[in-house]
Point group: C2
Chain length 390, copies 2
């Protein structure tokens, strides 16, 4: 009798925001980076991808992915690489144990949803590929560790490898040509330093900038300053950042975070033609953080920017009132502000900075450090293989 | 009988805009730079300082400077260094020839005026110190060459040393501790490549940024990328730029100009805390130049930015219609646009870029390469030593 069962597994996966940035590939096919990087995994209460992977001998046709309700093209080399790698690992298990169902031979049907609007302008590919890989690994019952799975996720989207862990996560660049040592590892779990918070100022950009994949290729090829970033600046920042996290030293964490963001965007601006992700609103957010720290008399906030104008501001729960108090008059009426947030309006921002932020920030996300992928019984695919209506 | 004559001499001096930027001092007292730089001297028809230097035994009190009608503080170390150096050179002449009047012992009275509004936000210190030094050198009848005088002007304001020459001018950083080899020399006179034009888009900045003197000190002290700029990027750019000028190769001139401006501003943004001179209007000007070159099918325009948001756009007279045609719809109604400029509206700019420029540019300056300081009989001080009413 043939196996007509629909096999299913679900996972969530988090977004991560780097404090030492990934920018530059030494191998574009394998997504091998020119430098190591380090990130904070953000809480899935606020930002997460939920993915159900399923397979069945009854499925006809090719593998498929439904992403936020829309069929998604999975023919790209990166997605294909993830499927291929995971199937190979399953096939090895099946070869070793004949009693296992031959899931590796069945078509995959995957359904994935984010709990945050695309309009937030957050790079969702990290959470997306991490969830995709973890869900299929769960479906296939692979024994691989998160670090081993991160090698697969990395081939989907570089920074996705860091979303296989919660807390504070390093992506070690490695030096092998096949990328087998270019993977994520845990610097510290969220429980080591649980009071880390993030306020994301979502800035409406007139137009989407250069994609990060093509942007980083251009930087590697044309920036005269890039070499010193990857050879000198980043290795120093990685060491400083790991120390800062291990010692829960926020002042050091903040300084390295801000310097590394500046360094990354400087190499973008040194690209030819130059790449600008930050705009005048982003720069006003930098000035606001500087003013908050100056008026607080100590470092209580740190800015960082990915490949876009949004400001991510890290701070500790104990300084929430000071940091949120400075921004509340400007953004508390936008989507995403959590009512009841403790605020203390001791910090006074310059008029021009305040009005630039007030006019330029369209919504906020208030979150903090969080856990890695979580297996869940919430399925986006029903037992009969059909997508769950939501 | 005592000498009661008022001795006078006048000169004009030009503004220069660097195409390989000066940013960083290795000796702040002597204004010795961390790298060589290269500039285009702009026409004095549009931008110049006129300075009359005078001295007389009948003058009482200290040296004085009237700048644009206002008494100016000359007690600063830099101005004092210029006065001291020039007096020493005069004193040496007087010691060698007893028949010379002892001008070095008389108080100096100096009057200086710019022919452009301070509101233009152009660094006037280069033209100002070049005119000051040249006027006193004329007054003292010093035999020093422009290159020798550039050593004096450099001590007033680094980039002033390049305004002692017309045309295309290099400031060689030198390596001596006393700065005696850190001086300007002529790469090519204006007549070598007379068709070079400059369109300056004057951008209204909300607030003056960090001064260049303190800014460059901070960059040297804190930017992790700066070392590679001065050790690798600038030496390469200097060599490429000199070749480009010698061969009148505008495409190469333009690429190095744009890359070097980007590199300079990148090291500013990599300073901690970061220094931003450019704003969204500046970046729109960059995108406009890129669009002009792309649509022209060849490089006809080059942007560069000093320590402020103004865009300086270099182009050749033969491409005036194309370059000016792209900007005319946006800025032809502002102060400074020269009616009758040949324009050809073949270039179409993106809506967002066009509106950002139209809203953000408050005036323009249309000029070109020009000559160095010119001795003149136009005096800002009358024969009796009083300032001329104008």
């Amino acid at each position: 009798m043939s196996d007509t069962k629909v096999y299913r597994a679900s996972t969530t996966a988090p977004v991560n925001i780097a404090v030492v940035k990934y920018w530059g590939k030494r191998d574009a096919k394998l997504n091998l980076p020119t430098n190591s990087s380090l990130s904070v995994t953000l809480s899935q209460n606020d930002l997460r991808t939920l993915t159900t992977a399923s397979c069945s001998s009854t499925y006809s046709g090719d593998d498929s992915l439904l992403l936020n309700g829309e069929p998604s093209d999975i023919s790209g080399a990166r997605t294909q690489a993830c499927f291929r790698e995971l199937r190979a690992r399953r096939a090895a298990l099946e070869a070793a144990d004949a009693s296992l169902p031959k899931l590796s031979t069945f078509p995959l049907k995957i359904v994935s949803e984010n709990n945050f609007p695309t309009a937030a302008g957050l790079a969702s590919s990290a959470a997306g590929f991490a969830a995709l890989v973890q869900a299929i690994a769960n479906l296939y019952e692979l024994p691989d560790s998160p670090s081993e799975l991160s090698i697969v996720a990395r081939q989907g989207s570089g920074s996705a490898c860091r979303s296989l862990f919660g807390g504070y996560v390093a992506w070690r660049m490695g030096d092998k040509e096949d990328g087998s040592d270019s993977k994520a590892d845990l610097v510290a779990p969220a429980s080591h330093w649980p009071s880390m918070r993030a306020l994301i100022l979502v800035v409406s950009a007139a137009k989407k900038g250069v994609s990060s994949t093509s942007g980083m290729q251009q930087t590697v090829a044309t920036s005269g300053l890039f070499k010193s970033r990857i050879e000198t600046v980043v290795p120093a920042n990685m060491a400083l950042m790991e120390d800062a996290i291990k010692n829960r030293d926020f002042a050091k964490f903040a300084e390295v975070t801000m310097r590394d963001s500046n360094s990354f965007h400087s190499t973008c601006a040194d690209t030819y033609p130059p790449i600008f992700y930050m705009n005048d609103v982003s720069r006003a957010a930098i000035r606001a953080v500087e003013a908050i720290n100056a008026q607080a008399g100590k470092t209580v906030a740190a800015y960082t920017f990915d490949a876009g104008p949004n400001a991510v501001i890290y701070y500790l729960e104990e300084d929430a009132a000071t940091v949120l108090g400075a921004f509340a008059p400007l953004v508390a009426s936008t989507d995403g502000w959590k009512d009841g947030s403790a605020t203390n309006a001791t910090v006074k921002l310059d008029e021009g900075i305040a009005s630039t932020i007030k006019e330029g920030v369209s919504r906020v996300i208030m979150t903090g450090v969080g856990e890695g992928p979580q297996k869940t019984d919430e399925f986006l695919i029903a037992e009969d293989g059909s997508p769950v209506k939501r």
